[in-house]
Amino acid sequence: MINIFRSLGYASVAMGSLGWLSFLLIGNLLKGPNADSSLAQYFADSIIFEERREELNRTFTDVSGELFLLIAHMNIALLAAAILMALSWSALSHFLNIDAPGKAKIYFIHWTVFTGALGAILFSITWYFTQSSDAISTEGVWKLTLFGIVFYTLIYYLGVVFGTARFARSSVLFANKLPGGF
């Protein structure tokens, strides 16, 4: 049990190394749009249907206010999914039936399927949120989807690399490259 908690601790710290960026982003998004911020500028340039906004003669604040909140909620959902999946794998890895050398590699398939499921969940979350607003441009939808999947998969990956049980590390891509004493 101590090993499981140790795994969860390692996973949490590893995810935290990137996760703080997500917290920072979510915090900024929840604060709402600030016209001078680079985040607002990025939204104006890449995410919002700027041409449509101009045609309808609405201000950036009009359109981006709800959008910032929406993207914040999307990031919270993505972060929660990534953390939950990483911690779940980390805990479950201790219960894998690895009783002979080399058997851990068989569980690489399980890990791949598990990671694939996470990818599908992340995609579904981004798709749901981006489709529920018509202020996001097509380009913005793809950027947010790509960012959501890549960034939160990376957080998850850091979590599982450091959180997977030592005897099961061969089931996770490159996890066996970690120093033996870790």
Binding site: E55, L56, R58, D62, E66
Partner: protein, 463 residues
């Protein structure tokens, strides 16, 4: 003293209580501040008083064939001309009769009966002095300009050669017409196919000069009525009831007018909720006429709705007129982030910068405006309230009357060949050309006319 204070306090509380809900109602505005073009009264048909009627009979020799019997053929000329005298007297206070050829001369009342007799068209003087050698229609048109309140009826075979439809002769024909149309008058052209037993002169030959033809048994004559639309319609109704109940091929009618728009749909409150099909099914639907008779459709919708504003041609086009070839739609769109009408402030409305939102099409028997076709609802942000206005103008008159008379038209270049076929029914020279001239004069005088103002006031919902 205490009682007085108590009364004042009670009064203040009461007035505050009574005025607060009123304020909250008037504070919010469900429409942005805007102004739309209004239909001007002067465009409407004026009530016509009884005024004099001037009748002009074409006295050229070619007309003589209309008053001679042709065995086996029905003579409509005599019947129609007889009734026309009666109709003219009903339309106007006093009727003045004239004969025109190379000049205009008045006819005494006791000589009118002669119009249906061959002797009316015969000239016993020398050819140079006779008034039956040509049809100078422009003289009759010029005369029609003299009394602006009068109704003018011209009976003619409308047989005009190419040389009469070019240069200065054309100018002398079109100038009075422009003036007539500018004064708000219209020109009704009635074509009647009648029996004919005589000679048709001045048929252009290919080699130059003219030839004549005497074997025609039928030929159309025309009654041109210049005056108010109401009088023209009255004459039309009389003629149709008495002679053309079955509206057979023997009769054609076209109305040349600089205002082919029958009415403004807002002024007469013709627009109903049914003008946009299925819109009444929308959530929170309400149709109303707001200030200035603006027809407003209020509703909630999602982005999937398609809307088409349809108006039957019979509701907007003057019957028998050239119709409308082109419409113009002036559009405006406002959006408000606040959707609750009571809470919307005037400053919440922002006017969109969209050039084209909807597009119109003529569907033969009706005008259709496909609302939000070019800038679809899909492009709007959901969760906003939108206010859309469309002002529909008739922008260019049509040319339907040219089509009406196409069957009876004979081109100058084809006249000799046509005569060579020994036709029983002889057509009218340059008829379509004449109609084109009349239509182009009407088009010159035409001013864009406001047909309808329509507004949509809707909440765009996500689902």
């Amino acid at each position: 003293m205490l009682v007085q204070f108590r009364n004042i306090y009670f009064f203040l509380i009461l007035s505050l209580f009574l005025t607060s809900p009123l304020q909250s109602q008037t504070k919010g505005t469900c429409q942005p501040e805007f102004s739309l073009d209004q239909y001007s009264e002067k465009q409407d048909l004026k009530e016509t008083k009884k005024n004099p009627v001037f009748v002009f009979f074409d006295g050229s020799l070619s007309m003589q064939g209309f008053v001679k019997d042709q065995p086996g053929q029905k003579n409509l000329y005599r019947d129609v001309v007889d009734d026309l005298q009666q109709i003219s007297e009903n339309v106007g206070t006093k009727t003045f009769y004239h004969r025109f050829g190379s000049s205009i001369e008045s006819i005494r009342e006791n000589e009118i009966a002669r119009v249906t007799k061959p002797t009316f068209y015969v000239c016993e003087q020398s050819q140079a002095k006779c008034n039956n050698q040509e049809t100078r229609l422009e003289l009759a048109f010029k005369a029609a300009n003299a009394n602006k309140n009068g109704t003018y009826i011209i009976v003619t075979d409308l047989f005009l050669s190419n040389k009469q439809l070019v240069g200065s002769t054309l100018n002398s024909l079109t100038t009075p017409l422009k003036s007539i149309l500018k004064n708000g008058k219209s020109i009704g052209v009635f074509g009647v196919m009648s029996s004919f037993n005589g000679t048709i002169y001045d048929i252009p030959a290919k080699a130059g000069g003219t030839i004549k033809y005497a074997d025609a048994k039928k030929r159309p004559f025309y009654i041109i009525v210049i005056g108010d639309q109401k009088n023209i319609n009255r004459i039309k109704k009389n003629l149709e009831e008495q002679h053309f109940i079955d509206k057979s091929e023997q009769y054609k009618f076209a109305l040349i007018t600089s205002s082919p728009v029958l009415q403004n749909l807002n002024q007469n409150k013709i627009i109903t909720e049914n003008h946009i099909s299925t819109i009444s099914n929308a959530a929170n639907f309400k149709f109303e006429y707001s200030g200035n008779n603006l027809a407003v459709y209020n509703f909630d919708t999602n982005k999937k709705r398609t809307m088409q504003f349809n108006v039957k041609n019979s509701e907007i086009i003057v019957p028998g007129s050239a119709g409308v070839e082109k419409y113009k739609v002036k559009e405006n769109l406002w959006s408000s982030k606040e959707t609750n009408c009571r809470k919307i402030q005037a400053s919440d409305w922002r006017k969109a910068k969209i050039q084209k939102i909807s597009s119109w099409k003529d569907q033969g028997d009706k005008f259709s405006l496909d609302l939000f076709k070019d800038f679809s609802l899909d492009k709007l942000f959901t969760g906003y309230r939108y206010f859309y206005t469309a002002s529909i103008y008739a922008d260019k008159p049509g040319n339907l009357s040219e089509e009406i008379f196409k069957d009876w038209d004979l081109k100058d270049s084809e006249a000799e060949d046509f005569k060579g076929q020994n036709p029983v029914e002889f057509k009218t020279l340059n008829l379509v050309k004449i109609m084109k001239i009349l239509n182009s004069v009407a088009a010159d005088m035409f001013e864009p006319t406001l047909v309808a103002n329509v507004a949509l006031n809707f909440n765009l919902l996500k689902k």
